[in-house]
């Protein structure tokens, strides 16, 4: 508790200092543009980060551990940076370690990355800020904040420990300064062990197998929320509820809400039907007891994403304008589904706990 309190007061001080640099909603860039991901193949070897017990003692190791703790219990930032009931680990399976579930280690090595959409180079820190703004429907922690350092440190440690083991590099993961950690691993001046550097170039490292969610083939029939409803009832509602609002036990929604006010907002990558279909096909039902068909994954992704959710934070009062600017993809923003209200016209508030 004391730790949480001191963290909180440190954060308040930090945020206070950084207010002028906080991103304002009106200028939000698209930080959740799709990554190009290769389809899965059977014989792929994935990076395998070290066990948690291998995280070193000391200040650097503490940042790595704190990153993990924020990742699996992101709700400790509720009301500050998080505006819904989600935790990072809801979509990034095995606390960001599992390949093909957008693992942190692969994402870390893919940034900094140039994005056409905002015509700027996005650092790893920028990318995590995007997660808070969109997936967590909250307020991104400021540049250089303790949380962004911790989440970057955890991601870096997973990536580097996996790479070192893959290329038989002994010893502890080299420590990096906070400023270095926040940048990400896709840069010429990123310190890599010689054996890793000899084996893979910067572009290969940025496209580690298992990155993102592997794309599945287009469905045979155009995806349909109506068919998706049937899939949902049969395979999803047991955990996520017949109303899609998840299940809280002891106040924790480890079975997360999929739509509605407590889920990700209309700017999050997961609202795209293709992204959700890829995620679902690879990672659901939880623990992978059965395999949905390609068609089922598309249909149920369409069903989930045809429901209303919190507004796109880039919304300036005109659904159609926003739809044209940011929603030229497979999604339902700005559309009416089955004669319902245009999605976006009555969406739930962005960052409702904002103080």
């Amino acid at each position: 508790m004391n730790h949480v309190k001191s963290l909180r007061s440190a954060l308040i001080a930090l945020v206070g200092l950084c207010v002028p640099s906080l991103v304002i909603a009106a200028e939000l860039p698209d930080k959740q543009a799709e990554l190009q991901v290769k389809p899965k193949s059977e014989d792929t070897v994935y990076l395998n980060p070290r066990e948690m017990s291998a995280i070193p003692q000391g200040a650097f190791g503490d940042k790595v551990r704190q990153g993990y703790q924020l990742f699996v219990n992101t709700q400790q930032l509720r009301g500050k940076y998080v505006g819904n009931e989600l935790n990072c680990s809801n979509c990034h399976m095995d606390a960001g370690r599992k390949p093909n579930a957008s693992p942190l280690w692969a994402a870390y090595m893919a940034y900094p990355a140039y994005r056409k959409k905002n015509d700027k180079v996005n650092s790893f820190q920028d990318r995590i800020q995007g997660c808070f703004t969109y997936s967590m429907n909250g307020q991104a922690p400021a540049n250089g904040s303790e949380e962004l350092v911790a989440l970057s440190a955890y991601s870096y440690w997973l990536a580097m420990s996996g790479l070192m083991d893959q290329y038989q590099v002994a010893g502890e993961v080299p420590e990096l300064s906070d400023a270095e950690l926040l940048k990400g691993g896709k840069r010429e001046d990123f310190a890599l062990p010689a054996a890793v550097k000899a084996a893979m170039n910067i572009d290969e490292l940025a496209k580690l197998p298992g990155r993102g969610f592997p794309p599945i083939d287009k469905p045979e029939l155009a995806y349909s929320p109506e068919r998706g409803a049937t899939v949902y009832q049969a395979h999803c509602q047991a955990c996520h509820g017949d109303d899609g609002q998840g299940l809280a036990i002891a106040g924790v929604y480890s079975l997360p809400p999929l739509w509605g006010p407590q889920s990700f907002n209309w700017g999050a990558g997961m609202h795209r039907v293709n992204t959700a279909a890829n995620f679902i096909y690879e990672n659901m039902p939880f623990g992978k007891s059965i395999q949905l068909t390609n068609q089922q994954a598309w249909d149920v992704a369409a069903y989930i994403n045809s429901k209303d959710r919190p507004q796109d934070p880039r919304f300036k009062g005109d659904v159609e304008a926003l739809q044209k600017q940011y929603h030229n993809h497979q999604g339902y923003y700005g559309q009416s589904v089955n004669g319902g209200a245009v999605l976006g016209s009555q969406s739930y508030p962005v960052n409702p706990d904002k103080k």
């Binding site: 948690m52 551990r65 095995d94 998840g246 299940l247 480890s254 992978k288 059965i290």
Partner: protein, 200 residues
């Protein structure tokens, strides 16, 4: 149950589900002989029912009736309760008090030296085993269709995991629990049963 807010969920944890204990319906008396009059369980006759939800108890009675759960005592016993008679009995046992536990949240620790705790709070994804607490809730206190494991008899938890493996317990959507149980070793089953039983 699903629309429960954070506040009320916490409140539920800290107090019995109903302020006034329900009077035992006559139809629950037979259950009480093996499960205890307030459903606290009588080892090895019957597991604890207190702390389970109405939804879960109701569903299990139906699974016994349809043969998806098989047990020499419960298969015939479940037949005694049909139709509308199930709910008052399920409500009665669901309303019984269980000892408060201080829940351990994911992320409170980053490293677990005990492999059983690691399985409970982090899972073993190399074998596609998710953390038990993802569905059974923090410290396995259970909710909705997911049974409370905290404080349940170790012998019962073990028997059930073995029943999932043997296929004498079914009825989970998409065989989610069955497929997890199938990946557990005999030693892990013993250790998990003991771990949850000791959360009191």
């Amino acid at each position: 149950m699903r629309s429960i807010t954070l506040g009320s969920a916490l409140l539920l944890l800290s107090m019995p589900l109903l302020a006034e204990p329900m009077a035992m319906p006559p139809s629950a008396q037979l259950c009480g002989t093996c499960h205890g009059p307030t459903g606290q369980g009588v080892e090895p006759l019957g597991p604890r029912l207190a702390g389970l939800s109405t939804e879960y108890i109701t569903q299990q009675i139906k699974l016994f009736q349809t043969g998806q759960r098989q047990n020499v005592s419960m298969t015939p016993m479940s037949m005694v309760l049909q139709g509308d008679a199930i709910k008052p009995v399920a409500d009665y046992f669901a309303s019984q008090e269980v000892p408060e536990v201080t829940v351990h949240l994911r992320g409170e620790a980053a490293v677990y030296s005990d492999p059983t705790q690691e399985l409970v709070y982090q899972g073993d994804w190399d074998r596609m085993i998710p953390a038990c607490v993802t569905c059974h809730g923090p410290s396995g206190v259970g909710g909705g269709q997911f049974p409370r494991l905290a404080g349940q008899q170790a012998s019962y938890i073990k028997t059930q995991l073995l029943a999932w493996q043997a296929g004498t317990r079914k009825g989970d959507v998409d065989a989610m629990m069955g497929s997890i149980a199938n990946k557990l070793t005999a030693d892990e089953i013993d250790a998990l049963a003991k771990y949850f039983a000791e959360i009191k």
